[in-house]
Each structure stands twice: as C-alpha cells, then as structure tokens.
C-alpha cells in the first residue's frame, strides 16, 4: 500500500516560523506581528501543499526500488452444476500477480474443508509456489467429496507471500469466496437423475404374464388353423 511518509505539520510550522522571523523582524515570536504572521502562515501552507503534491505525483510515477512490489489477486471457484453427497466437487484456485515484482514463497492454504466433513479425492489443500513472475498466473485444483448433506458455506482460502525478493515481510491475502451452497443428499439426487434401469426391469417382469398369456392362446389357435386362410375362428386380443 502506498502511504505518504512525510508529515504535513512540521514543514509548515518551521516555514511559518522562518517567514514570521523574516517578515516580522528580529523577535521571532509568532504573536507579535499577527497580520504578517497570518499572511506568512497562509503562504507557507500553500507552499507546503504544493511541495506535497509534487512529492505525491513524483512518488506515484517513480520506479524506484522501494516501490516495486508483487500484488496477488486470488480467486476460488467451484465448478459444479450440482453438489451431491459422496460425489466430486471441483475447486479451482487461480492466483494472478498484477504487481511489478515477482512474488516469492507463495503459500496457499485452504482450511475450509475439514476432514470430518470432506474426503479429498485428489490434490492437496496446502501448497506453495516458489515464485510467481509479474503478470503471470498459476492455477491449482482440488477435488473433494462431501460426506454429509446440507448447507455448506465455502469460505475463502488464505494466500501468504513475500512481495519481493528483498523484503522479509509476509503479506497475507484471501481468495474470493464462492459463498453458500446446498449439498444434496445422495438418495434425492438418485431418485431424480438416475436411469432407473432396475425399476424398469422389474416393471417388464411384472408385465410379462399379462402379455404372454393372451399371446400364447392366440398363437396356439393360429398355428392350428393357419393353413385355412379364410378362417374366422381367431381369438382377437
């Protein structure tokens, strides 16, 4: 974060005193020549603001060594249509470096999937990247399986990194939060979406007696009288 390090009060006080001395004569006390000191104060304030404005502008546009920092933006996304108990949830973390320096020792930790509620099917929840170059991005994917159903709040993961190679401070940030999602119980999902092949087989099995008995009766009679083409002695279904 850029911050203005020089204080606004001291230069104006010192400048006021100097100007008062110059304008007011030898005493150097502020209250003896109030009119000239008032003018001096106003002038010094304007000068201060001008100097500060120049310094700020200079600071923003300068590419000095102290200003180059890495800045990481991280997103966490859940790529699922439905969240089903016992089935995959695909979570992707992507980290972008929008700063001017490379981020060192980037650690990504997600403590939101506790082991009593989730199984990890693939990937690791705590990883580090040695170096993310400026204007580069990395992505990390984890697949978890929920053990329980209900509403679950997907919380943000934590990213910590060193903003540049020289600095020793650790910067901590957070990814975006996917928000709350409802994990559907498996039996509800199955009832709605599975092909129910077994149920259809049972249905077919039950229908077979109802269909087969008339068919066999007709077939026996037909085979007996098939040679007589104009016979009207067929049993209709």
């Amino acid at each position: 974060e850029y911050s203005i390090s020089n204080h606004t009060e001291e230069p104006s006080c010192q400048l006021t005193t100097v100007l008062c001395v110059v304008l007011g004569g030898t005493t150097g006390r502020l209250h003896t020549h109030s009119v000239s000191c008032g003018a001096a104060l106003l002038l010094s304030k304007m000068l201060c603001y001008l100097i500060l404005a120049l310094a700020f502008v200079g600071g923003v546009f300068s590419e000095g060594e102290g200003e180059e920092r890495a800045r990481l933006l991280a997103a966490k996304r859940v790529h699922n249509l439905y969240l089903v108990e016992g089935r995959d949830i695909v979570v992707q973390y992507s980290v972008h470096n929008v700063g001017q320096a490379a981020a060192i020792n980037v650690q990504l930790t997600d403590a939101g999937f506790s082991t009593e509620d989730f199984d990890i099917a693939g990937g690791q929840l705590q990883v580090k990247f040695d170096r993310i170059a400026p204007n580069a991005n990395v992505s990390h994917t984890v697949v978890v399986k929920p053990k329980k159903y209900g509403y679950f709040n997907f919380t943000a993961a934590e990213v910590s990194y060193q903003p540049s190679e020289e600095s020793a401070e650790i910067q901590i940030g957070y990814t975006s939060e996917p928000g709350e999602g409802g994990i559907i119980a498996f039996r509800d999902y199955d009832r709605k979406f599975s092909p129910h092949v077994f149920d259809w087989m049972i249905f077919a099995l039950l229908m077979i007696p109802a269909l087969l008995v008339p068919f066999l009766m007709w077939y026996n009679i037909k085979s007996k009288y098939a040679t007589v083409p104009r016979s009207k002695k067929g049993k209709s279904d």
Binding site: H79, N80, L81, Y82, L83, V84, R87, D88, I89, V90, Q92, Q107, L108, A121, G122, G123, Q124, Q126, V127, K128, F129, D130, R131, I132, V138, S139, H140, T141, V142, V143, F193, P195, H196, V197, W200, F203, A204, L211, W218, G234, S236, D237
Partner: protein, 167 residues
C-alpha cells in the same frame, strides 16, 4: 550465445546445487469421471521426485494445456502437484503427457520461445502420463425412451395381427 547461456546455466547449477539428474517420479493421477454434476473436468497429478544425485527442494515447471506453469509443492517440499481444468465438451479421453522441467530447462524453454525456435529441443527431466478414461455424461438412451419404444412395438404388433384376423 547459446554456449554462453549453457555455461552460465551450468555455473548457476554448480553454485546452487539445483540440478536433478536421473529423475524418478512416482505419480498418482486423478481425473473427474462423472460429468453429470460438474461443469469442468479436473486433471490432477500428485507426484514425488527423487533424484539420483540426492538434490532436494527443486522448483519444477510443467507443460500443461495452460502453457508452462510452475508446479505446486506441499509445504514440506516433498510432494508436487500439477493440475488443470478443462471443459466437459472439449475434454477427450486418453493419455495426457506432462513434461517436467527444472529451472535451467525452463530458462532455455523461455529463450527458445522468445526466439521462436523449436521448443521440443529442450530436454524434459521427466514426463508423467496422466490417463483420463473419459467422463460419464449420462446414458446414451434414456431408459424411459426404451420403455416407450417397447410398448409401442408390442401394441403395433398386436394391432396388425388383430386387423389381419378381422380382415
């Protein structure tokens, strides 16, 4: 120029001790196989690297569908993970080779890319084959459709036999 780069790279390697010779990877792969509930298929390869010269703590770069990316490591530095996602519609089944490069390999790859040279000339230190058996996108024909077709067929057969009789 190339020679100079190589000499420099070798020098750097000697100084930092980060080359890995005779790399051996043991990989466990995972891909999403149920495409009915996810919008993207995840490809994850977890592996450990062992070098015959005993080098440890090596940064790796992998060539995936996203380009050359840095490989994530566990915090103790032992386990590595390469992962990416693909759309369900474009994900095809089969083998996906993942080439691994160390720092020198990465530097020479970037140089080759900048100079528009052939990047396959850079040797990878190891390759992982991630096998994706294909994701299940749902049955080809719905079972209700089959049931309706069977019912129509039986009815049609009975009707034709009956009209033939009545005629």
């Amino acid at each position: 120029m190339n020679c100079l780069v190589l000499v420099l790279a070798a020098l750097v390697a000697v100084v930092t001790g980060e080359t890995c010779t005779g790399a051996q990877v043991e990989a466990v792969g995972f891909t999403s196989q149920d495409a009915t509930i996810v919008t993207k298929i995840a490809y994850i390869a977890d592996f450990t690297l062992s070098c015959s010269n005993g080098a440890k703590d090596i940064s790796l770069y992998a060539e995936t569908v996203d380009g050359i990316v840095g490989v994530a490591r566990s915090v103790d530095g032992v386990k590595y993970q390469v992962s990416w996602v693909e759309d369900v519609a474009t994900a095809s089944s089969g083998e996906r080779p993942i080439k691994l490069y160390d720092e020198q390999g990465y530097a020479s790859l970037r140089k080759a890319q900048r100079g528009s040279e052939d990047t396959s000339s850079v040797q990878a230190i190891a390759t992982i084959n991630l096998y994706h058996p294909g994701a299940y996108r749902g049955p080809w024909v719905q079972s209700e459709t089959m049931a309706i077709l069977a019912a129509i067929f039986i009815y049609y057969y009975a009707l034709t036999q009956k009209t033939r009789l009545m005629a």
